[in-house]
Amino acid sequence: MHNIQSGAITTGTWHFLAIRLRVWRQGLVGFLRDLWHHPLPLIAGLVIVIYILAAIFAPQITVQDPGRGNLRARFTPPAWVAGGTMDFPLGADEQGRDLLTRIIYGARISLAVGLLTVGISVLLGTTLGAIAGYFGGRVDHLLSRFADLLLAFPFLIFAIGVMAFLGPGFTNLILALTFKGWVEFFRLVRGAMLAEKNKEYVEAARVCGRRDPAIIVAEILPNVIQPVFVLGTLRMGFFIVTEASLSFLGLGVQPPTPAWGSMVAAGRDYLLTAWWVSTFPGLAILFLVLAINIFGEGLRDILDPRMKIE
């Protein structure tokens, strides 16, 4: 094996992407066909799609302003409870803002945090894991010990610490979550890399005169990437819950931006008199994370060839 050689992005990479795109298109069709035979993940997937659509089209599907309150409408109960009106289908909060509107807008924060955190973690973890696993040696040693160090902290406490240090805000929230979030992907990819790099097809690629970066990207990664997708989906639910926890503690996205965690926190004081203020944002978290987890499990079953029933 040689040192890392320059020129990782060469025609090899382009060629690889061209092939991959074709494979992905074929794979997507096959995947959707498989999904059709797994009703539970299918439903979960639809729920996720609904959440995503709601987040994207929030201004179009809501009539009220999520930020402006109406103190006369304070604690209006949900529409089906005595005293409720259809103006506030899920009731109003302590400032008289429509809960449904705020929940729909809140989906933007949760999904953005989930997608961004998972995206950055996957990218970072996969890159570092591939390098560490393939080249080994001192780089691997350093990265692995650093990963071990991060794993020694409980996630939430670590995130609270980082947020306290950085201060609240959306960007800092993403930073705090990814700072530890990449480790899982790093370990997954590094382990898979260790197993794959000694296989003969890698040696054959070397015999053919391929460079190390091309071997990693174009030969090995396609063989180890599927579990990363599954783990990514499952971790997304976890990140969303963690974001909600931080927002609940006041360390996440700051008011008046609606985030489910801070909405639950806001309603906490009125739980006995106005239960809906906390309950509905809580249910929004519950259903989204449940759907994501079911979808992730389903993804694992579908992608695992051993689980395939022909």
Partner: protein
């Protein structure tokens, strides 16, 4: 005599281990001429495969080539830069492996994998952009031709198949197609038929012989099967504990073996036509960390005598390109029992 293609001169490859330095290849001299088929025969762990990987300068770290030289096409491979080496690998020297199943990348279509080596070495001219060039189509045509040549039926359909959809024999054919796509001058075949059953084995050997004849590709055939070597090779080198112990034409080595190890290898082959007894070679392969001074085969050799130890044994010729690393060939006094056993005329 045809032109020299590859020359290994006193090649030495070592691996540092916790127990000490393992000399996996210990002063190997080997010559391959253009269009020649050379067999390298020996037990597992005798350094055959390491020799092959040394030729490509792909010895796995921490192993390294510790001495000697590799001359290929008139220049030393040891002096080449990494990028120059990559153009030799695959383009001029190709290799096929023992286990085709694990040598093909499971994530890609077979045809694309064959095309990959063409693309990698830029053999088909044209735009390097992935889209909007007819280069890919030209490469595909060439791949289909190669697939046809190595005997993959209906190559157009098989182009898009994944490796797991191929049988072992087909996988090996695909590997040979990858190796041949660039028309290399030298093919290193590391036990290419070991994982295949005998009928497929015969087909693959036949295919390789045809390629050797039609393209003039020289082949180094690594095998532990003397039968394969005898049938397939022009010359044979027998390796033991990192050294070549006997070298000569196939007729010389198989027909009149002179090193006790070669004789032992021949004696422990099961016969089919005659029901002869299999005579195993006693003892074990020596510990490569603590090689005995002198002959490495001495502990297992039935002709061993005190003179075998002490000095390293040199290769000596016994005429017409037949070399043997044994003191009995360099004029020590033979005992009558030896003469009787070997059927030699003293």
């Amino acid at each position: 005599m045809s032109e020299l293609l590859l020359q290994l001169r006193e090649l030495k490859t070592t691996f540092p281990t916790r127990r000490g330095l393992v000399t996996a290849v210990n002063g190997v001299n080997l010559t391959v001429r253009r269009g020649e088929i050379v067999g390298v025969v020996g037990e597992s762990g005798c350094g055959k495969s390491v020799t092959m990987m040394s030729i490509l300068r792909l010895v796995v770290r921490p192993g390294r080539i510790a001495g000697g030289d590799i001359i290929f096409g008139g220049r030393s491979l040891l002096g080449l830069s990494p990028s120059a080496l990559r153009t030799v690998r695959g383009r001029e020297i190709a290799m096929i492996f023992q286990d085709p199943q694990s040598t093909l990348n499971p994530a890609f279509r077979v045809g694309e994998q064959i095309r990959e080596s063409l693309r990698l070495h830029g053999l088909v001219k044209g735009s390097r952009l992935p889209f909007g060039s007819n280069r890919a189509a030209a490469e595909k045509q060439r791949v289909l031709r190669v697939m046809e040549e190595v005997g993959i039926p209906s190559p157009v359909d098989r182009y898009a198949a994944y490796p797991h959809q191929f049988s072992g024999g087909m996988q090996q054919r695909a590997l040979i197609a990858i190796a041949l796509a660039c028309e290399p001058k030298l093919l290193l075949a590391d036990e290419p038929t070991t994982a295949l059953d005998v009928t497929i084995q015969a087909q693959i050997l036949d295919l390789m012989r045809r390629i050797n004849r039609d393209h003039g590709t020289a082949v180094i055939m690594v095998t532990h099967d003397l039968g394969v070597a005898a049938e397939f090779c022009n010359t044979i080198a027998v390796m033991y504990a990192g050294q070549i112990v006997e070298r000569g034409t196939t007729d010389q080595v198989i027909g009149a073996p002179r090193h006790p190890y070669t004789q032992g290898l021949l004696a422990c082959r099961p016969g089919i036509s005659e029901r002869k007894a299999i005579v195993p070679i006693q003892g074990e392969v020596p510990d490569l960390v603590n090689l005995p001074q002198g002959c490495a085969f001495e502990p297992r050799c039935e002709f061993a005598r005190p003179a075998c130890l002490g000095e390293p044994i040199r290769m000596t010729t016994i005429g017409d390109g037949h070399y043997v690393r044994c003191i009995r060939t360099s004029g020590y006094e033979r005992r009558p029992t030896d003469i009787a056993r070997l059927g030699l005329n003293a």
